[in-house]
């Protein structure tokens, strides 16, 4: 995903001179193509995230579309107030790009795990959240962002995600991207790099014939659109590599409640066991309950939470 991000950014920057990339001293072996092709518009702001986000807002206030790139918690929590006051309140064209969504940086530990980032970003009223699942969705989200610059959060995994989309994807905020069409008015809804988990779940008898849908673009502004999407289904299973509290699961529950939607819903996010120890991403996902066996077992028992 991150390679597709930088590839899309380089292509866009060739014709759009207002695109700037600011990195917080991260991006080794990822950002070099941009840095080499557009040295004037590549800024390594050093290990100083508050200034990084503030200056990104300042650049954007003069007409630049600023992409700020770092590992998940650094350009979010470390500079949360700059995002809130400077970027979001002023409605400036800053796209915050993070790598390592969820526990992608498994063994690096809790400091590098992005399991609350969506909670933070989705409380910003002008912020659009992009959670692509594969390189094709990254390309589509980037095309959308370049065409519609705005306060935005692009959450990437790392590398090696399975590709489930055909080329030519383009997001519509609040709309599901149905990657597998079911026939029982039921859907598995997921974000980010969880597509393999979603498809593996879809092979289980319990979820046979469920549609499988990613949600590449959503925000506080898109609840109405998403509510209309949900009306197609009489049951949904929601999975996310983020704490269930205040992330996508909570967002879906809010939409369901606010728009008085009546369908069966089950919610599976990362349980707290995922942060009580340090291990590889695959192990932490299992510990946190995000695996076929746990989800299927608990679903059949009617249990939502793994915390």
């Amino acid at each position: 995903m991150r390679n597709e991000f930088i590839n899309s950014l380089c292509i866009a920057a060739k014709t759009n001179e207002k695109i700037v990339l600011v990195v917080g001293d991260l991006g080794y072996s990822v950002v070099e193509p941009f840095a080499e092709e557009f040295p004037d518009r590549f800024i390594n702001s050093g290990i100083a995230e508050q200034n990084m986000m503030g200056l990104a807002a300042g650049l954007a206030s003069e007409g630049y579309h600023v992409f700020v790139y770092s590992i998940a918690n650094f350009p979010t929590f470390r500079c949360a107030e700059q995002i809130r006051n400077d970027v979001d309140y002023h409605k400036l064209d800053v796209t915050i790009v993070t790598v390592g969504g969820g526990v992608a940086y498994g063994n690096l530990g809790y400091s590098h795990h992005a399991v609350q980032d969506l909670a933070l970003m989705r409380t910003m009223p002008n912020m659009r959240i992009f959670t692509p699942t594969d390189a094709e969705e990254v390309a589509g989200c980037m095309a959308y962002l370049v065409k519609n610059p705005q306060p935005s959060y692009l959450r990437l995994g790392k590398a090696g995600e399975a590709v489930k989309n055909k080329s030519g994807f383009y997001p519509i905020p609040g709309k599901l991207n149905e990657l597998k069409v079911g026939n029982v008015n039921k859907a598995i809804i997921f974000i980010g790099r969880l597509n393999e988990l979603a498809f593996n779940l879809g092979s289980e008898p319990a979820f046979k014939n469920f549609s499988i849908c990613s949600l590449p673009c959503w925000s506080m502004q898109d609840k109405q659109v998403f509510a209309n999407e949900l009306k197609r289904y009489n049951e949904v299973l929601v999975i996310e590599d983020h704490f269930k509290d205040a992330g996508l699961c909570s967002w879906v529950q809010e939409v369901k409640s606010e728009y008085l939607l009546d369908f069966k819903a089950s919610y599976y996010g990362l349980g707290f066991d995922s942060i009580r120890q340090v291990a590889s991403e695959a192990t932490l996902m299992q510990k946190g309950g995000l695996c076929v066996k746990n989800i299927t077992t608990n679903y059949l028992r009617g249990i939502d939470s793994f915390a």
């Binding site: 503030g54 200056l55 206030s61 700059q82 309140y89």
Partner: protein
Amino acid sequence: MTSQKLAALIRVKSLEMVYRARASHIGSALSIADILAVLYGEVMNFPAMDPEADTRDRFILSKGHACVANYAALGAIGTLNEEELKTYGEDFSPLMNHISHKVSGVEFSTGSLGHGLPFGVGKALSAQLSKQSWRTFVLVGDGEMQEGSNWEALMFAAHHNLNNLCLIIDYNNLQSLTTVEDTLSLMSLDDKVRAFGWEVRVVDGHDHRQLHKALLERSEGPLCVICKTVKGKGVSFMENQVSWHYSPPNTEQLESAIEEILNAK
């Protein structure tokens, strides 16, 4: 209008606004009245009737609580009219009690301290990138220099040689509860900023001639003008009193304050 007259007008209008709105922070506003008068009256290229002109110099009030002085300055030069100033602090007025970018002539909303300089760094960087000659001025409070974000921005500005950026520090040595020295001392602030790679000029922040020279003369790298000021300056009973960080004047105090300002030599 002379800068002295502009400063007096800023003080009077500021007092009237906080009096009407029963608002705080008059001491902070009076502290920067001379700085603003010299900036808007003599130093900045700021077309009052075209406040969004591409070539304008950018001014950012990072100590956003002193906003009445900035609104008053914009009123005195004609960007804002008297009716707009009178709405200060009223429900739904764009003139909120911290500086607001929704007001004509204002670049950036602040209120939480330590935001203005990084934002100004971004503006200065954009001018450097696009080869524009306008300057960016950021006015911060002395207590505000306790915020780490400012020191991040200082490093960045020096590293990128942002010689179009001017940081103005309103050094009145009073913050929320007591003096800066007793709260969290800045010690030798000028040496510190100099050590970060900036050119530093220390001036009397109420001496217009000194301000004019220090703010107008360009520097090789980023420029910091430390202004030694008096909180509440110009109204003797408000000077150097923490209480005027909070209280608005009553009618008698307002009249007395205005009289003192208008009669000052």
